[in-house]
Symmetry: C2
Subunit: 615 residues, 2 copies
C-alpha cells in the first residue's frame, strides 16, 4: 500500500491529524488506494509517519464515520467498496473532445448563437491589479477593508443547524424575511426610505436588479433617458430590450432636466454619485426631476449604489424617499466591499412591481442563495453593518482627501476634478493636449493604474484628456507617492506644450520689486477641485491661507525671499515642505514657476488691505 | 439614560457579554441612546444589571473598537457623534406611500409591464410543509440531511483572511479557478466526463444555467424538442424566447426517438431520472439519441440533475461523455440538498459556448457569489462532497426501498410505479377511477403531502389518476405509517368501484378444495413496481418467495389454513406480519380478499411441479 505517498509538512498550519486525513482521502478519491485495499494498522502507520498512535486512531475513526474506510473483523482496516457508489464505472475510452476530429458542421458552433451577447467592453483594470504598486482603480478593494471577523461570525450564525433548518424550508419565490426586515429597519432609514417587506426584492448584485427591471419595464415601445456619460452595462441592458435611448447631459448639479425628457417613459439616474463623474445630484435638481416625472408620467430608476461615500455635508435623501407618487424604482446594495463576495443587492418599489419582478426572477434563477441572505441578515442584526459603514466612511474619506490633496499639490494649474462632494473616484480633466489613453499605458508601465473613460460615452466622443482615479483599492499612505509619479509622467508627456520661465509672457520680478509685490499681498488661486484659495503674505514673514468650498480649511506658515526666489512653507499644506518659486507678473496675474522653470500656479492679486504701509 | 431598556435573558444561549453588547448597539441604532449621550460607568452599569464589572468593561471595549462609543478624558463614556455619519438627517415627513393618494395614472402600475412574466404554476407544496407529518415532497429536504459541520468548515476556510484576499481580486467574467478544478477532477469523473477549466461555467442554480442556455441558443427560428410530461420551467423559458416546441413522448427507456425529432435544432432531455417520471434513459436509447442528433445536426441539452440517486445497477455515463461531436451542453449541480442554500450549479460545453454564456451572464448578474464558489471548492477539496454523496446515496436508497415496499404492501393490485431504477420520487398511477387532485386535498387534511402532476403536461391532458411521492423530505421511519394512512384513504375514495368478496367473479374456495389448491401451489403476482414475484407454498407449511427485477429478493415464511381462511407470514416481507385472505378462483386466476372482503391481489397459478403428490 502506497502509504509512503503520505508526506507530512512540519511547517503547515494544519494539524497533523488533518494533514494525514486529507492525504488519505485524496489517495482514496484519486484511486491510489482503491476500494478494498487493506490499510496498515494504526500502530504501523504511526511508526511509519513518526507520529503518535493516537493521531492515527483518531484519523481512522473520522474516516470510518465518514464512510471512507471500514473495519472487517479480525482482518483489519479496508478502503470502503462503496467509495464508487453512484459513479460511472469506467471512463469512456476517448471522451477527450479536443483530440477527436469534430464534424464540420459543428466545428464552429457560433452559427447557433441567437441571443444578444454582451459586447466586451474594455476591462477597466488588469486581472493582476494587486501586483501594481498604485492601483487607483474604483470598485476593487484592498484586503484591509474586509470585516473578516464580523463577516465570519455572521456567516457562522447563518450556518448553525437551527438556522439551516429554518432557511432551507423557504420557497422559491420567497426572500429571507429576516434579511428583508433588517434592510427595512437598518439600511433604508439611512436613505430616508420607508418600506414594508413586500416592497423589497433581494437580488444577486445590482446588475441583476437592473436586469430584472429592464425585463419588466422595457421593450421597443419604450423611451429611456440615460446619463451621458453614464453606466455602460445599463445602456446595454436597455438596448438588448430594444429601448430607444435618450442621452441626457450632466451639469454640476447632476442630470440636466430639459424637454428632451418629456417623451421619456423611464429615466435612469445615479443621483448619489453619478457614474462615472461622482457628481451628487442637488436637492433642487431632485425636486425638479420628480416634478418632471410627475408632469410627463415617467418612471424613475434610481441606482443608489454608493450612498456610503458622502463626505462633504449631509447626504441628500434618496429620490424614492422624496417621491409622493410611487414613481421611483430604487436599487441599492449592501456595500460594494462586501458585494463582490456575497452579491446581495435589493430593489425597493411598489408591491405590484416587486411581485412581478419576483416572478421574472423565479424563471431566471429561482432566488438568491438563501445562505447569503441569512448571513447578511446577521451581519446587519449584530450591528456589524453599521460599525463597518462608519469605518469605511472614515477610511474612504481619509483617502479621498489624501488624493485630492496630492492632486492639488503635484498637479496645480494642470488638472481639474470638479467640485464633487463624495464618491470613491475622481473624474479628472487633464491638460488639453494630454492623451489620456497614452498616459494610462505609460502609467501602467510604472506601476500606476488609472481608469480609462471611453466606455462611459455612447452618443458623444469621449474627451481625450480625461481619466478616472479611484480610492478603494489602495491604502492612504500610498496615494501621495503614486500621484507624484503620475504628475512627473504627465509633465513629461506635456512638457512641450507647457509654459516655461524662458518663454513666459510678462516680466520676472527681482530685488525690491519682488519684495514690494509680495509683502502684504493678498493672492487668490484655484484649487484643482474647483474652490478658490486666498493667501495673505503678512509683512512679518508669516502667511495665512483659507480655502473655499464645503470643507473650508485654514493654515498658516512663513515666507521669505532669497536670491530673487520666493520661498514658502505651510504648517500643514503642501506636506509642510519648503518650496521656492520664480515670480512673473503678467498684468494683474501673478505666475509661479518652480525651480525647474515650469509654470505651477497662476494667481490673481487682490487689493492689498492697506497698500503702501510697508513701502 | 434608559439603560433599564437592557434586559438580560438568563435562559438565552448567548453569552451575557454578547447580550449586553447587542442591546446597547440596538439602542444606539434605533436612537434610544442618541449621539453624545453619556453612558453609565462600567461599575454602575455592572451593578444595575447585576453582572461582573469585567463583563461591562469588555463590552465597552468592543463597542469602542467598533466605533459606537468614545471616551472623553475625565468626563466618561459617550455614544459616538459619528453614529449617523452617512445617514440622511431626518426622515422626510410623509414618505409613507400607502397613506397618500396616488395619482390616477400610476395607481395601477401594471400597464407599464412589458416583459414576459412567468405564469404562476400551482405550487407543489405548501409553505409550511415541515408541519405536515408525512411530506412526500420531492426536492425539499429534512434537516437531518445537511452536512452542517463539514459545510461550516468549508465555509470558514473560504472566509479566512488569505482566502478573501485571493478571491476578492477575481474579475467579473471569471469563475473561481479552485472550484472549476474541483468540479473537473471530483464531480465530472463520476459522470464519465472530461473537461478543461474553460469548458465549465458556474451558475446560480440549474435554473440559471437553463436560462443562460436558452438566451444563447433559442429564438423564434428554433425548434426544440421537450419531454412530455416534462419540466415546466424549462418549457416556459423556451416559450419566452419564442421557440417552437415539439412535445416528445416517453417510454420505459426514456425519451422516444422518432422522426418528429428530425426537424429539431435542439433536444432537451433529463436522462438520469426523467422529470417527472424518474425513468432512466437506457444505454441503447442514449446511443440512438446521439446518432439522431448527429444525423440531423441537433444540439442536445442534457439536464443531469439527480445523478446521485442511481440505486439499481451501475449509473449510465452522461450523454456528454458519450458524445464524440461536441453536441451536448451538459447542466448539473452539486446536490440538491446543498443547492437550496448556496445555489451553485454548472454547465459543461464547448469552449466557445462557455465564452458566449459568460458574456450573457455578465450582463445578467456579473458572476455567482465568489464566496459560495470558494466554499463549495473547499467542500470538494476536503473530500466532504464524496463522503456526503455516499451518505446521501445510502439514506435515499433506504427511503426509496422503504417507500416502494410500503406501496407494495398497502396498495397492491391498485397502483403502479413502473420499473424505475432510481431517483428521489415515484410517479404513481392509481386506480383508474381515482381523482388524484381530490386525493391530494384529502390527504393534506390528514397530514400527508403528495405532489400533483398537472403542471408537467403541456400538449396533452394529464392523467387524472396519477400523482407523485418523493423521499427527500421525510425520514425512513415515517414512510410506512404515511403510506398506510394514504392507502386507507385511497381505498375509502375508490371503495364503490372496488371488487368485493360479495360481488366477485369466480367461486370461493373452502374446505378440501382450498387445501388442495394451495398445497404445493406456485403463484405469480405483480409487484406495484413492475416486476413479478413467484411464491411457492410447500406442503410442509413453509413457503418461499422470489421477486424479479434488478434487485431480485428472496424470502421464506409459513402458511396455514384456519376457518377457510388462508394465512401467511413472511420472515421479512410484509413487515413479517401475519395476514389472512379469502381465496376466490376465477379460471386460472386466483384472487385474494382481505378480512374486510376487499380484493388485494390477483395471482396466476403456475403448474405445480409435481401435482397430485399430496392429494
Amino acid at each position: 500500500m502506497a502509504t509512503n505517498l503520505i508526506h507530512i509538512d512540519p511547517d503547515s498550519t494544519e494539524s497533523l491529524q488533518s494533514q494525514i486525513r486529507n492525504k488519505l482521502v485524496e489517495g482514496i478519491l484519486v484511486g491510489s488506494f482503491p476500494p478494498n485495499t487493506k490499510l496498515p494498522s494504526s500502530r504501523k502507520l504511526a511508526k511509519q509517519l513518526n507520529v503518535s498512535r493516537n493521531t492515527i486512531v483518531l484519523v481512522y475513526q473520522a474516516l470510518m464515520d465518514e464512510g471512507y474506510i471500514i473495519t472487517k473483523q479480525r482482518s483489519g482496516i479496508f478502503v470502503s467498496e462503496h467509495i464508487n457508489t453512484g459513479r460511472v464505472k469506467n471512463l469512456p475510452s476517448s471522451s477527450n473532445h479536443s483530440l477527436i476530429t469534430p464534424d464540420k458542421t459543428t466545428n464552429n458552433i457560433q452559427y447557433r448563437f441567437k441571443g444578444a451577447i454582451a459586447k466586451t467592453y474594455e476591462v477597466a483594470c488588469p486581472y493582476n491589479w494587486r501586483r501594481y504598486a498604485y492601483p487607483f482603480i474604483d470598485g476593487k478593494f484592498d484586503a484591509s477593508l474586509y470585516p473578516i471577523k464580523e463577516w465570519r461570525e455572521a456567516n457562522n450564525r447563518a450556518n448553525a443547524s437551527g438556522e439551516i433548518y429554518q432557511w432551507s424550508g423557504l420557497q422559491g419565490l420567497q426572500d429571507d424575511p429576516m434579511l428583508l426586515d433588517e434592510i427595512r429597519s437598518k439600511i433604508l432609514p439611512r436613505r430616508g426610505i420607508q418600506a414594508s417587506q413586500d416592497e423589497i426584492l433581494i437580488t444577486v448584485g445590482t446588475q441583476q436588479a437592473l436586469h430584472l427591471i429592464t425585463q419588466l419595464f422595457v421593450d421597443s415601445s419604450v423611451n429611456v433617458a440615460v446619463e451621458e456619460p453614464g453606466y455602460p452595462e445599463m445602456r446595454e441592458l436597455l438596448l438588448q430590450q430594444g429601448a430607444n435611448l435618450v442621452y441626457q447631459p450632466l451639469d454640476d448639479q447632476g442630470l440636466v432636466i430639459n424637454n428632451k425628457l418629456d417623451d421619456c417613459d423611464i429615466i435612469y439616474t445615479t443621483p448619489s454619485h453619478q457614474t462615472p463623474t461622482s457628481i451628487t445630484m442637488s436637492m433642487a435638481r431632485r425636486d425638479q426631476l420628480l416634478q418632471q416625472a410627475k408632469q410627463h408620467n415617467s418612471l424613475i430608476i434610481e441606482d443608489d449604489f454608493e450612498f456610503e461615500s458622502n463626505f462633504l455635508g449631509q447626504p441628500h435623501p434618496a429620490l424614492r424617499s422624496l417621491d409622493k407618487n410611487n414613481r421611483v424604482v430604487y436599487v441599492s446594495c449592501l456595500s460594494k466591499v462586501l458585494a463582490a463576495g456575497v452579491q446581495i443587492a435589493f430593489i425597493v418599489a411598489d408591491k405590484q412591481v416587486i411581485q412581478a419582478l419576483k416572478k421574472i426572477r423565479k424563471m431566471i434563477m429561482r432566488h438568491p442563495p438563501i445562505m447569503n441572505q441569512r448571513a447578511v441578515a446577521y451581519f446587519l442584526s449584530l450591528g456589524y453593518y453599521d460599525s463597518f459603514m462608519m469605518q469605511l466612511h472614515k477610511v474612504f474619506f481619509e483617502r479621498w482627501l489624501e488624493l485630492r490633496e496630492a492632486l492639488n499639490i503635484y498637479l496645480p494649474n494642470c488638472i481639474d476634478t470638479g467640485p464633487i462632494q463624495g464618491g470613491t473616484a475622481y473624474w479628472i480633466t487633464g491638460p488639453s493636449r494630454l492623451d489620456g489613453e497614452y498616459l494610462r499605458e505609460k502609467a501602467a508601465e510604472q506601476g500606476i493604474l488609472i481608469e480609462p473613460i471611453k466606455r462611459y460615452f455612447a452618443s458623444s466622443e469621449h474627451p481625450a484628456n480625461c481619466f478616472r482615479m479611484g480610492i478603494t483599492s489602495l491604502p492612504s499612505d500610498k496615494i501621495r507617492a503614486g500621484v507624484k509619479k503620475l504628475a512627473d509622467l504627465i509633465h513629461q508627456l506635456t512638457a512641450e506644450f507647457e509654459e516655461k520661465l524662458s518663454n513666459a509672457k510678462g516680466s520676472l520680478l527681482t530685488g525690491d520689486a519682488l519684495t514690494n509685490m509680495l509683502t502684504g499681498a493678498v493672492l487668490e488661486c484655484q484649487m484643482v477641485y474647483g474652490v478658490e484659495c486666498i493667501i495673505e503674505l503678512l509683512n512679518n514673514g508669516t502667511m495665512r491661507g483659507r480655502t473655499g468650498g464645503k470643507d473650508s480649511e485654514i493654515d498658516s506658515g512663513r515666507w521669505w525671499i532669497e536670491n530673487d526666489i520666493y520661498y514658502r512653507q505651510w504648517n500643514l499644506w503642501g506636506y509642510g515642505e519648503v518650496k521656492g518659486f520664480y515670480i512673473i507678473m503678467d498684468g494683474q496675474q501673478m505666475k509661479w514657476f518652480d525651480l525647474n522653470y515650469c509654470l505651477v500656479r497662476q494667481l490673481k492679486c487682490l487689493e492689498k488691505p492697506s497698500h503702501g504701509k510697508n513701502s
